[in-house]
Symmetry: C2
Subunit: 300 residues, 2 copies
């Protein structure tokens, strides 16, 4: 039985960056997050795939001790995303998105998933996220990600969902938009007023911020001279975070801070390679090493 | 005899932000930096002022134990800067700059300044900065700031100067421009190749990065919910940094890191008020308190 349920997109990604390109490779938020989480815990993925989804990719997930019982064929074609990054790597430019099987997907959770104590709802329609959350049997911790599209078009549904979850995860632009302020500290504090016990704001190369009732934690980005492909960084962070918390069985301030360092460590590896390349060869000692480097980088 | 010489502009600033405005108030890089340094050490300011410069302002500096022997009347009118900040406070929009006495100013250093072991050359023409540096009697540590205008128009002179100094201070956009890379880590490493023992990149709300031969230190910004006026933040940081180093009499990695935290602490106070307002009432216990808050914010 998985300890962590990961719901989100599974995709064929086509990516171009100044360092190269990849065509129709395995991607999607739920894939990055569950692979990142698999370094710490037994994750179960929930998503829809098409008949075109290669069996090797399902096998790849299974070999990482990720339950794929929730990965169901839901139509002909798997979700596809095509995009590119400019030289500054700051943000993805989408060329095309084909929702295919993800459109309106309302998956039924396998019985073995329902009692999992941890759940990560990666970016999708708030109705889809709520549908999955509602099938969970009183999880100990729920983490929610979203994106600008839902903030613009489904704000009410999103806000209702935010009231039900424990950790809200956003990037800096989304936090500014959702809480109508240019100041991230104000945004983080406002988020807590809606109910979540914690809000985490992802700032890309500038690191991550954690807001809890009484404290703020600020972790700088891992200093990387070469970023080959930023795809999946945010979801790797979230998966690493959720996976570590599931393993620790804790959700106090100290555990949250450590989890953010582990999430950042994994995300820093993700972007060193194209798509999932670097994560596929990553080891726990690699992660531990980068955790220690974070300690050296921030101490004074 | 001052332990730290601070060279840079002294100005009448006119500032507008969403939180208010101020007309012809005391400002300028050398003022912010020497006031910030004065919490730690005996600083001596070098600059030019006009006949219109109020005696009370010179008195204000003297009362903070800042030597003003190097503050000479050099013409009719003091340097003037007028600018505003938008709601996001990210960057200053200049409305007008009147160089007045600062134009081509080549000050002669008072004898008492020449043996000072520390010198901070705030942003000005590289020829003016070199002119001051050349009059120093083998200082133990020199810190250089600059800006995009000189990178664009006086790059050769700037690069020659960079070879002579110990710490290069830049903001993120300047670092990217000067070292022709969007990646700040690459930029910081490239800076060291020109000779400085350290390069510090200022990232505004995202904090500061320190590059030395073998290490990187990354300090996040102090989480402020309200920024009233960002004017002088960078120079307060530099002055606090230089002042702490002068007091510590050290320049090893540990001292540099602590100096950056102290510089950031003072800068975080600067932006809480308009112009010099907050710095004028600031106390050493205030600074110490924020230093301790930084410890809490980054620990994991």
């Amino acid at each position: 039985m998985p300890k962590l349920v990961v719901f989100g997109s599974v995709a064929f990604d086509s990516i171009r960056t100044p360092f190269g390109e990849a065509n129709e490779v395995l991607g999607g938020a739920a894939v990055y997050a569950s692979v990142a989480a698999s370094f710490f815990t037994h994750a179960g993925i929930v998503s829809g795939i098409g008949k075109d989804f290669p069996k090797e990719w399902t096998e790849l997930l299974r070999k990482r001790n990720i339950s794929t019982e929730g990965l169901k064929i839901a139509g002909e074609k798997t979700f596809r995303w095509k995009g590119y990054y400019e030289y500054d790597m700051a943000s993805a430019h989408t060329v095309s998105t084909e929702l295919n099987v993800m459109e309106g997907l309302m998956p039924e959770l396998p019985g073995s998933y329902r009692k999992a104590p941890y759940v990560f709802l990666a970016n999708l329609h708030p109705e889809q996220q709520l549908h999955v959350l509602d099938q969970m049997d009183n999880p100990r911790l729920s983490i929610l990600d979203t994106m600008n599209y839902w903030i613009t078009n489904e704000k009410e549904k999103l806000m209702n969902l935010i009231k039900k979850i424990d950790i809200l995860l956003l990037n800096d632009a989304e936090a500014r938009q959702l809480f109508s302020t240019p100041n991230l500290i104000a945004a983080g504090r406002r988020a807590l007023a809606y109910g979540p016990g914690a809000c985490i704001i992802k700032k890309g190369e500038h690191g991550v911020l954690l807001f809890t009732e009484k404290e703020i934690f600020s972790l700088p980005g891992y200093p990387l001279e070469t970023v080959r492909d930023p795809t999946g960084a945010g979801d790797s962070f979230a998966g690493g975070l959720a996976g570590f918390l599931a393993k620790a069985g804790a959700m106090d301030e100290k555990a949250l801070r450590k989890a953010m360092v582990y999430g950042s460590a994994i995300a820093s590896y993700t972007v060193e390679g194209f798509g999932l390349d670097r994560l596929r060869s990553l080891t726990n000692p690699d992660i531990q090493q980068r955790y220690k480097e974070f300690e050296k980088i921030v101490r004074f």
